[in-house]
Subunit: 347 residues, 2 copies
């Protein structure tokens, strides 16, 4: 049965910080009845996130009386629960609502939340909780399963969205493609996966490899990227993912207008050609791996600017380039299908 | 007061697997009174580990009656407690001995061990336990502190030993050098540090950066390497370390005769020149970082073979090369001192 979800984004209702909210609205199975952000109440989801149509933004839980599920809709650096959210979470619990979070701070490790949940008979779900303890072995990978990983020039540029859109497009075209979720939001919308940034460092690549082995009966695995090799805070996660997924193909994702590293604005993002090279080099230690296309996130620029930049990137990289939302994913779907049919990757 | 330590290496008393034991004997502050391995009892530490002189290998705890401390002396893949060790650990606890471990399985999370330790008033120490929750920020690093990181062509090749020997040599020559421990054994012998392979992946580089910031009043930081960028199981840890330590100089460590990746023997280790290049590339995203010397571990080959290979590597790489145990560390000490004095790294 579908849940009726209210998404908590208090103080953070923008496309960058509330990416969990945007993605749950875009791809989730449950009905989203409202967003909760008292600082921008009265506007709509479409107004602030560019998705979700007339879903209202409300100031209090009582304004969404049908909701039976509170979902924490942000993924801040460090993954902690903002202090002013505690009251709302406790209010939801005492109203009989289940609560789902994807933060590093676990609801189920918090005595106050746990006691309240028991008293009110509701379920607390920590999507990032895991007990991964397997190292990667590089054994048993199926040669004729194509593994396509999204990699980015920064974090939060649209790697998950690109992987999901391409999976859906491939499935719609009759291909046996499967999405592998590697982060809390991907898991929320697909119902499966592993939050690899929350795994003990020794076991990151092992956790990824385990997912690959479990799903490699599909022809094509579209694997959700994490972080960026050029983001000093999160590059460990990214390399563990690259070496656990062992992809034969990469799709490079970048946001137009993004100049500096998220959260480390004193660092300039290296040129895209350099980012591509670093990812290919690290993915190609034991087998060839190539970039087969570029997904541009053009939400910050005009249609004319997006089109010009798309053309420029096509010329510079001699690769298919598109914004999977603005342009549709067809060029990248063709890139995956053509690469798969080329068989150059399964020698 | 010095403890009297017996080191448990049951079934694993060889230089590769018992590297924790070897290093505690070589560099630790406590007296090591015996090794415990019933499969090779009667021999000496020197016979089997090449270090430790006449320290006996015994079959039972009762053969080392002066011991007041049991240390688990191996670091196996996955870091679990071998099942047949439980009995020995419980016997040690009930004899009033403290117990120290560096495994992923924590003694202090085990109800039976914890209950026994409380009953007998002994202390259980899990060196790998940590609560790291800070991301790397790349802010506040001191420009004139030289950070030298050891990197390897595989795991368990001698990165920690190289970093410690060079730290000691620099200190002996009057330089203000400090060793930064990043793994359980380094922490055991230095009394400080962070077990970064046990940190949640999002926080690996942050945990390293925190240590750098805490110790950068020294002129030179010699940072213990972890894993290898070309080891698919552990490369996440390695890159988090590289990006958290943000070194200006690398020392490349390799073992002569090592052909395949530890634990993944179906994978050939890439050529050393390639390993050097990968490390320099990943360390040089936001500042230049260069390899200033090569430490060879020649324990498996003859003196003549070691000398020939040292010469060959010097010619191929045009860098100082030595086995810091067999040859002494002088050539690499000179490399660090000369590089520091060159000032090319602090522009």
């Amino acid at each position: 049965m579908k849940r009726k979800t209210i998404i908590l984004t208090e103080g953070f209702t923008n496309p960058h910080t509330a990416k969990t909210a945007s993605s749950v609205i875009r791809y989730g199975d449950d009905d989203v009845v409202a967003l909760l952000d008292s600082t921008v109440a009265g506007q709509t989801s479409q107004d602030l996130l560019g998705v979700g149509g007339q879903i209202p933004i409300v100031a209090t839980l009582s304004e969404a009386p049908t909701a039976d599920h509170l979902l924490l809709g942000i993924a801040p650096p460090g993954g902690s629960i903002p202090p002013n959210w505690r009251k709302v979470i406790l209010e939801a619990i005492s109203s009989g609502m289940d609560v789902t979070a994807g933060l590093h701070d676990f609801l189920t490790d918090d005595d106050e939340f746990r006691t309240a949940a028991q008293a009110h008979g509701v379920t607390l779900t920590d999507v990032r909780k895991n007990e991964e303890r397997d190292i990667a072995r590089r054994v048993g990978l199926r040669d004729d399963c194509l593994r396509v990983l999204t990699v980015g020039h920064d974090c939060s540029v649209g790697k998950m969205l690109t992987s999901i859109e391409l999976t859906k497009g491939l499935q719609a075209a009759g291909h046996d493609a499967h999405f592998i979720a590697t982060g809390q939001t991907g898991i929320m919308v697909s119902g499966d996966g592993c939050p690899i940034d929350r795994v003990i460092a020794d076991f990151v690549s092992g956790a990824v490899e385990k997912m690959i082995l479990a799903h490699q009966h599909h022809d094509i695995l579209m694997i959700e990227g994490q972080g960026s090799l050029v983001h000093p805070s999160y590059s460990a996660v990214t390399l563990g993912l690259i070496h656990g997924a062992y992809p034969q193909a990469l799709i490079l994702v970048c946001e137009l207008g993004r100049e500096t590293i998220t959260g480390l604005e004193h660092l300039q993002i290296p040129p895209l050609a350099r980012v591509r090279e670093l990812n290919e080099v690290m993915a190609s230690i034991y087998q060839p791996c190539r970039t087969i296309g570029i997904a541009v996130n053009s939400r910050r620029v005009s249609a004319a600017e997006a089109a010009a930049e798309r053309k420029r990137l096509q010329d510079e990289f001699e690769l298919p380039v598109c914004d999977v939302v603005r342009d549709g994913p067809q060029d990248l779907l063709d890139a995956v299908i053509n690469f798969r049919e080329s068989k150059v990757w399964c020698s």
